[in-house]
Symmetry: C2
Subunit: 333 residues, 2 copies
């Protein structure tokens, strides 16, 4: 295993420390327990947004802490849920008196730990609502999940719900728009090659030289099937077909098309995937109204990509376009 790390056990702490040094104007890193808040948290009167999950998906979630998106992020160990001991103080730290929304990817550990933390925070007088993200159409149930996994749609939920909180929506309204995004977003991913969890030291799985995995999860957990290597257009068609079958778009509907890199895939290849996906969507009579292309929810250095399609309505477009200032997403500020 060759990685730019010092100690496999210190990867998360040292990485978050470096992140905090690079973005000290935007975020505050709290240690023991570890969580990250906006530098100006809590924002009085605003609904607070907290997300989190296992590390290894950077820039998710800490990269989305800042004005117009998350108020706090709670990183667990690599591919391991954060604990209630971290989530509770993060929740309390960002409560500006209007309550807090937890945005939780649907993995068993995350769901349980956020649930426990929500109960404890409510016992301390903070109203909490939870938005569960489960946008991955690849599999029902999986290695770490009952039901569908939460993947790329999470970034869109965090941006749009974050904008709703920023404009002053109340607790139930912010949770409702987050859930509306989740209800209208679908994703599917694939891998050319596996990633290596630092403390494991060996790749999470093996693919043969001419084999790829369709429907892979963001922890390298199994997807739908392994198939012989295909070209980018063929792969894109497979992912998109599964998404569109599930999303049931109507002619003329507007979508956000998000092509995401898994960490080890060059941007040039993501554009080749985007090219095909945009063409297919146009041919089918859907309007790609907004786009996002890059490494936004990764699996360490896994090679591969995911495609996410969000059915947009006018309010979502307005909230997507609203100013955001985080380490990983920034516009209008």
């Amino acid at each position: 295993m060759k990685k730019l790390i010092n100690d496999p056990r210190a990867v998360v702490d040292e990485s978050v420390e470096g992140f905090g040094l690079a973005y000290g104007d935007l975020v505050t890193v709290h240690t023991d327990p570890l969580f990250i808040t906006r530098a100006d948290a809590p924002v009085k009167g605003k609904v607070g947004l907290v997300s989190g999950g296992g590390s290894g998906h950077e820039p998710l979630h800490a990269g989305y802490v800042g004005k117009g998106m998350l108020d706090a992020a709670v990183p667990g160990a690599v591919f391991t849920s954060p604990t209630p001991d971290q989530i509770i103080p993060a929740t309390l730290a960002v409560d500006g008196g209007a309550g807090v929304v937890h945005i939780v990817k649907n993995y068993t550990g995350d769901v349980l730990n956020f649930e426990t933390a929500a109960e404890m925070a409510q016992a301390e007088g903070v109203e909490v609502r939870t938005v569960l993200v489960n946008d991955d159409v690849a599999v029902e149930d999986s290695l770490y999940t009952a039901g569908r996994r939460g993947v790329g749609g999470t970034v869109l939920v965090e941006k749009i719900a974050g904008a709703a909180a920023d404009r002053g929506d109340n607790l139930d309204a912010v949770a409702a728009i987050g859930s509306r995004v989740n209800a209208n977003v679908r994703s599917m991913g694939m891998a050319l090659a596996a990633c290596t969890v630092p403390h494991a030291g060996v790749p999470s799985f093996e693919l043969a030289e001419d084999e790829i995995e369709i429907g892979i999860g963001i922890h390298g957990e199994p997807g739908r099937h392994r198939i012989p290597m295909e070209n980018a257009d063929g792969i894109t068609d497979r992912l998109l077909e599964a998404i569109l079958t599930d999303l049931s778009l109507n002619q003329g509907e507007k979508v956000l098309l998000f092509v995401n890199g898994m960490g080890g895939t060059p941007l040039s290849e993501l554009y080749i995937v985007y090219r095909r996906a945009a063409k297919v969507l146009a041919e089918k009579g859907f309007t790609v109204e907004r786009s996002l292309v890059g490494n936004y929810i990764t699996a360490i250095e896994m090679q591969g990509c995911s495609i996410t399609v969000l059915r947009l309505d006018d309010e979502m477009i307005q909230l997507w376009d609203a100013p955001v200032h985080t380490p990983a997403l920034r516009w209008g500020i």
Copy 2:
């Protein structure tokens, strides 16, 4: 070779096409010959900025086309200079009457082709100045270079010279600030693992399981030496020491610290490198005034990083902070 591509010979065309579809509001892709301009080019009365070079370094250069940075980018084949046939029309297309600055990374092919294009454009009545970028301290001369190679500093030259043009500086002033950035910036890179050029189909070089290359170029060309694998702090110290030896900073000077990923390295690892570099700079009495961390000048999917340090003055800080709106760098707009 497993890549998200269709045809190794079509990688650049299809990737740029996808890029154009994703950012149609910002850029216009011109084909035959291939170059990319701002959608609103030429900007009347503004000095135009053109850069370019071999593809495979995405988001460089096309990702920096937009307000406050480049007016045009000219992509060659992967790791191959663009031709004068591309550079000339790009130059003419962005001349708003105030002349055009070419920002050229110091590789023999790029230098020759931009020189030829500059002469031809001048023959057509467009004043051209050239800023040569040669910030890589690793080696004097190399596989593709007489003198030092142009690497990470290029991104900073493009941002700062672009801001100078945007505020209305004249042709000589924009070229002068670009050259001033180049004179004050130093970089060095390293690789954990090689990249594969699509039409070659095999890795550009081989590193043993416990071996890394210090001083690697952005095409995988040889650096200073191969050494046994080290931890991130040790690697960071080596890169930074070479940079600081060459840059001769004085106590109390302000710097921009740029930690760049080579394409296949996760962001989490770049933060671990940033952490060490920021600490060492602080210990030595220098002030990290601005930062940039991420994949900004890559070598396809090479695993590794580079460090760039720019000695800042107040004008450079002001120009760095100025609004920019490109696919890959955006703030203030």
